[in-house]
Symmetry: C2
Subunit: 300 residues, 2 copies
């Protein structure tokens, strides 16, 4: 059942303050009992405490190969390259991300609605879930670009109108994540705090922010304090494995100067009880491919 929340308050004010500020997260990390499975209780506890969990092998070698082939096909398709939903690196002109792949590719639609993925998301969020965003990301060898520290939720709240921290992302690795080829880094425990960022959101900010970060970037002093308090976990792992992480984790990835490229499939599930409304801190909502308005439950 799809349910829309009436926005009566802004529990996460951001981009409306004069100076950066850190507030306690008013919402839980695991919604509901978290005991329904398929995740075991130790894994759920790890997610609750650290803001993320890892899955050693989520897909089979055959499925992995199918997704890699599909990724190659998409990245070489001139129609896909020219599409607004494809983000091209300004300097190298290489494809960095292709958005909304759960609608445009049968292969990725299948995994986005697969019970192995959807049921884990349902368990963590305590409700039916819908797909807020999906994309494939490329980090080529030698010149893969870094992505600085941020909370995804800050952007989804400010620019997509997501009311509460009741969303979870899954990153399925299509290549091996070494410590040295720009893997995901998370400050474990940082998801329990919300960093209020300064700076107003410009019109059509997404056209810039999907390439380079601006508003919504936390200040250095807060990040130094977070790094000292929480430390940094580097998420290494094999191709075919996955990471699920809370929408409000402080995370980043280094550049990649090694010859080992990185790519992954990234899907965001939001609770149907947390559907997006008007943006909380932007002139208008981002386009559908960045923040979906189709609240149909996934996996059904």
């Amino acid at each position: 059942m799809t349910e829309t929340v009436t926005q009566i308050e802004d529990a996460y004010p951001t981009r409306s303050v004069d100076r950066p500020n850190v507030i306690d997260r008013p919402d839980p990390t695991v919604w509901g009992s978290g005991r329904e499975g398929p995740l075991d209780s130790a894994t759920v506890r790890h997610y609750n405490d650290n803001g993320y969990l890892t899955i050693d092998q989520l897909v089979t070698p055959a499925e992995l190969q199918e997704m890699k082939d599909e990724l190659e096909r998409l990245s070489e398709d001139p129609v896909v390259r020219a599409d607004e939903r494809t983000i091209v690196e300004p300097a190298s002109q290489g494809v960095r991300s292709i958005f909304e792949i759960h609608n445009t590719s049968e292969v990725f639609k299948k995994i986005a609605h697969d019970p192995r993925v959807v049921n884990r998301a349902r368990q963590l969020l305590g409700s039916d879930v819908y797909i807020h965003q999906s994309r494939v990301n490329f980090k080529p060898g030698f010149e893969g670009k870094e992505f600085s520290w941020h909370s995804d939720f800050e952007t989804w709240h400010a620019e997509d109108g997501m009311p509460r921290t009741r969303a979870v992302s899954i990153s399925i690795s299509l290549t091996r994540n070494y410590s040295f080829n720009g893997p995901l880094m998370i400050m474990p425990g940082s998801h329990t705090k919300f960093v209020q960022c300064v700076g107003k959101t410009p019109e059509d900010n997404y056209k810039q922010s999907l390439q380079m970060q601006g508003p919504g970037t936390p200040d250095k002093k807060t990040l130094e304090g977070f790094a000292d308090k929480y430390g940094i976990d580097v998420l290494e792992g094999e191709a075919g494995g996955a990471i699920m992480f809370d929408s409000n984790c402080m995370h980043a990835s280094n550049s990649n100067i090694t010859p080992f490229a990185r790519s992954n499939v990234f899907i965001v599930y939001n609770s149907v009880e947390n559907a997006c409304g008007e943006p909380f801190a932007a002139p208008k909502a981002r386009p559908e491919f960045a923040g979906s308005r189709d609240f149909t439950p996934a996996g059904q």
Copy 2:
């Protein structure tokens, strides 16, 4: 005793070829018996096979603090900042390296001639050694820049006239090296091969190359082959520890977007039997601060 080698042949032709090429290194890694100490035989064997060795704690906490204080003093001194031997990051205007610190700073002169360092270098190179180059390196938090794959020897041979691979570098860590704050990465075993690079050396190349890399950079295909064959070791470790590595190791370091800054003292020891002559592939030799012409044995 200082001895100068007469240059009768170029055993490592580079920047004179049409296409990149890999040749076997004609020289040993450990010169002489390598049995005199202070390094034990297992450590010498590791160095011989991998091209590097690590020292968990080289200096005392008090010495470490003294070096950190000296580094801070130097980097804040406007006379030092304005000196040709200080390399400033083009974008951020931050200090990246200060060269020739073994001559300009009593604190770093002391460690550069310390028997703990010099005797290890003597053991590996099988002779008296002199200081070819010294510097302190800074990699600030949030915006520390990457340094791409290269062999130091290729530059020292081409631009400083170093005849053979009979030099060793020591990097003494002044801060902790995590996997994620841009530590040294080495392809273990790569020191046994020499990559002939393409491209002529421009006049006064060092003014650019100390900031950004150009000639002397190996091609991508060779690097992909090396990475597959040798893999990549990431050299983590505590402040006060050190790494010694062969002049011809293929090495690099990633950028650093974490809040944890990195700094180290870097000293190159060359055998007195391998003193530099005319550059092998450059219009003229680099200045003294980059490649010293004072072949006086260190530590005496």
